[in-house]
């Protein structure tokens, strides 16, 4: 524990972790208020409801991405891995496409029925857990190999999905294209509410096990020594993470680098190694990044709708920086 702590660059201002969470909370509230109130036109009712849904979508996605990434990094004991880099999201898109392909039916997360959605989600979450459990046991010690295999699996899933989508309907290029980028404005209200319930429910379960992840973050051997049922905990965590990623992907589409950036920033800013501080800090940072980013793009740079691409760009550079710093 002591050794890990020294790796942090402590900012010169001395604030307790609680004060930092408080500051970030205020900042994110400010960003939210700005988002809701800037440039209100005449049709107040419509605009407020529409913005409200977009804001709510962003909060859900920020929550899912931050929790999934931080916990994924804790169980793999590595700060470069994220569910998205490992191809989780691409897998979910592929499986959704396959379901549509083989049952020859409208995409389920476009116009969906909730029961069908739950059934399919269970199926694809189970598949994801099996696949990644297998991957982690198979190449246990070489983190680079795991990362590489994950990225290539992601490419494979994306190409396979693209192939199936082409087989599905050669004319609908625009539909295919709209799913390659994340958008926060297209989800339907019932899907947003359903995702919110699922994500906050499972997120809450994970949140309550914070102390367990503090132990897991010490690494596999330490955790087993301290009496954690390692295999079971890792499997359940992977399961819950997959649920979060699945629902968030169904809601907005793939966002590769958001989790990676905010998790690493959270380790720097939180001023503590305990998950009960890191998780809220990551969540708040994710909200500030998404909502603030959208604000800047929309009102300062006048480029609405490009948020996911800008995140991809900054995140990619950040990833290269992380890799270069480590080696």
């Amino acid at each position: 524990m002591q050794k890990v702590k020294h790796n942090f660059k402590q900012p010169s201002i001395k604030l307790s972790p609680k004060q930092r969470v408080g500051l970030l909370l205020m900042l994110s509230l400010l960003v939210m208020i700005l988002f809701m109130t800037i440039n209100l036109g005449n049709n107040l009712h419509y605009i407020l409801i529409r913005r409200g849904y977009i804001l709510f979508t962003m909060i859900i996605v920020a929550f899912a991405a931050s929790i999934a990434t931080v916990l994924f990094q804790s169980i793999t004991n590595n700060r470069i891995l994220t569910p998205s880099l490992m191809g989780f999201e691409a897998l979910f898109i592929l499986i959704q496409t396959m379901i549509v392909f083989f049952y020859n039916d409208t995409p389920s997360y476009w116009v969906f029925s909730i029961i069908k959605f739950i059934g399919e989600s269970c199926l694809l979450v189970a598949f994801a857990v099996l696949l990644y459990r297998w991957l982690f046991s198979f190449v246990h010690f070489n983190i680079n190999l795991i990362l590489m295999v994950g990225i290539v699996l992601g490419t494979l899933f994306r190409s396979a999905a693209a192939l199936l989508q082409r087989l599905l309907d050669p004319n609908e290029f625009s539909v295919l294209q709209s799913r390659m980028f994340a958008t926060f404005t297209k989800a339907s209200p019932e899907l947003i509410w359903f995702s919110a319930i699922v994500i906050f429910f499972f997120g809450f379960i994970l949140w309550r096990k914070c102390h367990l992840f503090d132990v897991l973050a010490l690494g596999r051997n330490q955790a087993i020594n301290l009496g954690v049922d390692y295999r079971r905990t890792v499997t359940t965590t992977l399961l819950l993470i997959s649920i979060l990623v699945a629902v968030s992907t169904a809601l907005v589409g793939p966002l590769t680098f958001l989790g990676l950036m905010i998790a690493n920033l959270a380790y720097l800013i939180a001023g503590s190694n305990q998950h009960r501080y890191i998780l809220p800090v990551a969540f708040l940072l994710a909200m500030i990044a998404l909502i603030g980013g959208q604000l800047i793009l929309e009102y300062v740079l006048h480029m609405a709708g490009a948020l996911s691409i800008v995140l991809e760009f900054i995140g990619g550079i950040f990833f290269i920086y992380l890799v270069l710093k480590r080696f």
């Binding site: 490419t155 190409s159 294209q177 691409i309 991809e312 990619g316 290269i320 890799v323 080696f327």
Partner: protein, 297 residues
């Protein structure tokens, strides 16, 4: 869409036209692009001393696309030759930048190089997509690059690929110097090789090949990676002996992908690059896991 037999080719002028305007150029284009891309991958692997890189895993292809987009934005009416030159220049710049980033890495583990390359490529394609969206060119860019599409290759649109073929032949001819360069800078300088010149030569071949192929047929993912590796698994590492096989197998693989793409949903065509993406990723995974087993034992 009628059957072609030698006799009908002789007697029916319509069939003769289809054959010589569409089928023959398409087949030649497939073979030339496939073999050139494989050889470019092989050269890149020799120069970076890493088995897991190829132009699309090192930002070269993505930089070429960026170049293509920039010329589409500023000079929409540019000729195909101008497009090709600009794309090649960007490919060159991108590859050099990647090499410079690589120099910063002290400990070059076999997998760090492609990881950095993949991320470098995704940063560049994020810029490209952003610009394309801003100028409302996303769809036409997709048609150029996402294609890997040989269905538009007819007489008059593939001839530049002969240049790629010449470059491939040139690369085969100087294969030995690349082999020596692959031993590292110190070693090759010691035995009297002009390391900088060979490096520049290799980079130019890679850049021009990638640039031309992006402009004429679109991206061919994974090809330069899997073909040289499979050949070296089967035939060893004597480049002078294996390079003809690399050409042959690269051309053959792209041809196979194109045929598969034309058959599985018959009246429609699926671009060869989409098929190649799936097959290539599977083979790459196999190579990765295989390699790690070797490393362990």
């Amino acid at each position: 869409m009628s059957d072609i037999s030698p006799s009908s080719l002789w007697s029916n002028s319509h069939i003769r036209d289809i054959f010589f305007i569409s089928r023959v150029p398409r087949t030649i284009a497939l073979l030339l692009a496939g073999s050139a891309m494989s050889v470019a991958g092989l050269i890149m692997q020799l120069l970076t001393q890493n088995r897991f890189v190829e132009p699309s895993l090192a930002g070269t292809t993505q930089s070429a696309s960026l170049g293509l987009l920039i010329i589409m934005i500023f000079v929409p009416s540019a000729s195909i030759i101008t497009k090709m030159i600009v794309a090649s220049l960007f490919a060159m710049a991108g590859t050099v930048l990647f090499m410079l980033i690589l120099r910063k890495i002290v400990l070059k583990s076999a997998l760090i190089v492609p990881l950095v390359g993949i991320m470098f490529g995704s940063v560049i394609s994020a810029i490209t997509i952003f610009l394309a969206m801003h100028y409302d060119l996303l769809q036409s860019l997709g048609a150029w690059i996402g294609g890997g599409d040989f269905s538009s290759v007819i007489q008059g649109r593939y001839e530049l690929l002969w240049l790629v073929g010449l470059l491939t032949l040139f690369a085969c001819w100087v294969a030995d110097s690349f082999t020596v360069a692959a031993m590292g800078r110190e070693f090759s300088t010691n035995i009297g090789l002009n390391y900088r010149r060979v490096m520049l030569m290799g980079l130019s071949v890679i850049a021009v090949v990638s640039g031309i192929i992006i402009v004429v047929v679109g991206a061919l993912p994974f090809l330069g990676l899997i073909v040289p590796n499979l050949v070296s698994l089967m035939m060893g590492d004597n480049i002078r002996k294996t390079i003809p096989w690399v050409c042959l197998m690269g051309g053959g693989l792209v041809l196979l992908c194109d045929i598969i793409g034309r058959v599985i949903r018959y009246p429609f065509e699926i671009p060869a690059s989409t098929i190649l993406g799936v097959i290539g990723a599977v083979i790459f995974l196999f190579l990765l896991i295989n390699q790690s087993r070797y490393a362990k034992s």
